[in-house]
Amino acid sequence: MDDPVLRLDRICKAYNVGLPSETKVLHDVDLTLKRGEFLALMGPSGSGKSTLLNIIGLLDRPTSGHLFIKGQDTALLNDAALTRLRGHTIGFVFQDHHLISAFTAVENVLMPLLVDAEFAGPDIVQKANALMARVGLAKVADNRAMNMSGGQQQRVAIARALAMSPDLLLADEPTGNLDTQSAGGVFDLMREVNRESGTTILMVTHNLDLAKRCDRIVDVVDGRITA
């Protein structure tokens, strides 16, 4: 398994293709992430960071270019296969935690395990509780997601992203809505996960202090990688 976890080959993305409002957001983006790397993606607002992250996360397709996940070209996969690959290899943490409010915290963590028949089984509840303990929230596991603080919610979101033991964790401004102290705590957690489990992490952030504590920083300006 010497294939990099992720390799982008001249990825372009345009919105509203063919319309007068056509906007090119990404231009020939090349990027490779080695296994176990913790990379910070920085850049001004509107430069295309979230767009890039959605493409890497298989939520969106590039207009052109190739995206290899663990050496597999994703351009050849249909929707069902993409969903499967996404579920098994990629974890998401969004800026706005995106927990499902109808569920308790631990149920949110359980969700990725439940949707996958291969994982569904009696031991997944233990796994979810263990993840809650790992992010330091064992006590509030059965709280409703919306009754938790922003920092707690983001920790739950990280626990959820780790549920499937993904190869790649994508985080889009995970600390953007948090105060400095909570932000530090959440970042420490991700750093710890990266060290202990060897999870490859790609984190979008506007916080230079946190970015400096990553293994590598990549800048995106006007849809191009500059560093």
């Binding site: 098994h88 109808a102 308790t104 990725p112 949707v115 569904a120």
Partner: protein, 408 residues
Amino acid sequence: MSRWLPFEWIAAIRFLREGRMQTLFIITGIAIGVGVIVFMSALLTGLQANFIKRVLTSQPQIQLIPLDQIARPLRNAPGVFENASVQRPSQRVISVDQWQKVRDRMQSMPEITAISPTMAGSALAIRGAASRAITISGIEPTSYFTIVRIPDYVVAGVPRLNSQDIIIGTELAKDLGATVNDKLNVQAATGTPVVLTVTAVLDLGNKAVNERNTYVALRTAQSLLGIIGGVTTVDLTVKDIYAAETLAKRIEGSNAVEADSWIATNAQFFTAVQAQKTSNTMIRLFVALSVAFGIAAVLVVSVIQRSKDIGILRAMGASRGQVLRVFLIQGGVLGFVGAIAGSVLGAGGLMYWHSAMRQADGSELFPLMLERDLFIATALLATATGLVAAMVPAIRAAKLDPVVAIRG
């Protein structure tokens, strides 16, 4: 939480529970619709069953009566008949021709369970200055009571019929000021007047009937009406009441009698039941339609409200099929729970109505018929309706683009 449930079920139930108000309102709406269906259907079955019960216990299922008396011109007589106008003769009270033979033939038919000859006619009952027109039925008590359960209707006295006895209705008793053991003068247009002793007073549950119907021994009626040895009808009960009409036709074919089955006599009732059934079906259809639209409306709104959640589920690895099922299940569950609540509502209403609405004599207006099949069918229908109604919203949810959904 039920962690052993598949993901789709957990998500569906959580979504329904979180949308408390919407869920509650739509279930209430479904319950009312289902309740009406259950109530109406059970009432209809009850009334039908009640009628059948009456047919089985208080009237003959086939009556044999003399053939119509027809005037016929003598076609074979000498002379010319032109424009012969044939008038219908007035129908005298006449006997069934050779009724003993007819009875013997009936006795040999295995489909027939009881046979009772009756001599019926009009007479006048007189007591002191009061007189009333009555209908006299001369019967053989043992056989007649198996067809019409006279003893069940006795309110005073004992249903005994010797040659000097008469059984009368409550209204007649009141009108004549007569009661058990009192004597009545009874007299018909033909025949001999007799003095009879009241042995029992009946309540047949109908004022007009209680005023007119009286019962005497067969021989008494024969002499009173002046037709010695004759009977006006032979009453029959049969094994299979629904085969009564075909049996009646067969009897007519091989006997010189007219055979009227309860089915022919009550043709109106069957038309009414059919009309009821048709309107019931229409009501069901429209209730199902409005339930379907209600569920669809609630779920369409829910899909919009939850588009972000749907996007997250997709990002977490949920397939389009799973999202589709989450919403289909919600529709099915709404229909099912609504049907359960509606069944309880309908059954409760029926029980209340059953106890509140009584006939004048305190007996039930309709029998309470709560059949399990009705509830099962209703629950299935409502669940299926919910599933179909959820189709459009569910497809919409499944088609959501996760990127757009998450961006909000």
